[in-house]
Point group: C2
Chain length 207, copies 2
């Protein structure tokens, strides 16, 4: 890898993607962004982080057309965002923050269509983390204190929300291999093993 | 990894999957099976390897029902295969040979629904190799002496045949991440890098 690179991690709910990203960032000594982007967006916009947290990862009205045609431009404030729903405002702000970060540092970012946002950037490694439904349900119960009786439904609902969000803003299908450089199934491996796999992968790319 | 393991490689046409498998087998010092399975099947059945080569990777009539319900049993010869099309005979024989090999040695096998055939076996690492269409067309032209004007069509046709073959015999969708442990995009990496990525992956699994 070149001296500056970005790793985007897309993950199925309960697959361990967040923990893998966090541990990998620590191992590599680079920045890590997941919910952290909301705090930055909140700070930049003056909108309460609580409001943003509530809509994070949920698609709203279609920005795709205006973004793709360049009809939509945004500045440093919300002054140009008119009456856009808060979901779309958050997407635009995160989109802008991710691009700004990409100009200046090496980092790992979780979700947020970052692979799509950075599609034209060099040195972006796009990782997809997934696992079978049983192991994801098990992990979700252990990690998020979800009622076991409703865990499967919750996992499927969370994935559906992520898929909708991704296809809504990117126009592409979430979880298709074509969008990623490396896809790792965590059904039978630990967080540490997944971290090592990506770490080794980066080393091979640097060869 | 335990002392005995099997690597199945499913690959999009032109993605370099065959070469990656062959080089990895050499690096690991283990057996490699691709077209080699046809020679073994021909030897066991007494049918000409040329006839088998002609139908390799093409789905024929549905065996799925009879195989899945256990109504279909096969012996060492073709005596129990009745009037099955040669495609299905080849599938059954390869299926049987792969299972026999899995009992006694460590190897890499390319295609042939091996990931599905060995779905209940322990220590099977299922790899999917893919790349974007442009890089696959380029590789196919360089490697297979395909007419550049028709290369894209040929690549897409080959993939369609593989997808049909896989879903015909396994009842599952070819190229979906869920079927694999590790998926590697070879668009921007070399054969050697892909080999090293899988090699390192196996090492991490052995930790």
């Amino acid at each position: 890898m070149s001296s500056k690179y970005i790793i985007t991690i897309t993950r199925q709910y309960g697959s361990g993607g967040h923990d893998i990203g966090k541990a990998l960032a620590e191992k590599l000594g680079i920045s890590f962004y997941d919910k952290e982007l909301i705090s930055i967006a909140a700070k930049e916009s003056g909108i309460s982080p609580e409001i943003f947290k509530d809509v994070d990862g949920k698609a709203a009205n279609s920005l795709l057309y205006s973004l793709s045609t360049g009809l939509y431009s945004y500045g440093n404030s919300f002054s140009s965002m008119g009456d856009l729903p808060v979901n779309d405002r958050l997407y635009i702000l995160q989109h802008k923050i991710i691009k700004e970060l990409a100009e200046k540092e090496t980092f790992i970012v979780i979700g947020r269509c970052a692979d799509y946002v950075l599609r034209d950037y060099p040195n972006v490694v796009k990782v997809f983390i997934y696992a079978n439904i049983d192991s994801r349900v098990k992990r979700a119960i252990a990690r998020h204190d979800i009622d076991p009786a409703r865990a499967k439904q919750a996992v499927q609902k969370a994935d559906k929300r992520r898929a909708n969000y991704y296809s809504f803003y990117s126009g592409k299908k979430w979880g298709m291999v074509d969008n990623y450089d490396l896809c790792i199934n965590t059904t039978n491996i630990s967080i540490e093993q997944a971290v090592d796999i990506i770490y080794d992968y980066l080393n091979v790319l640097g060869n």
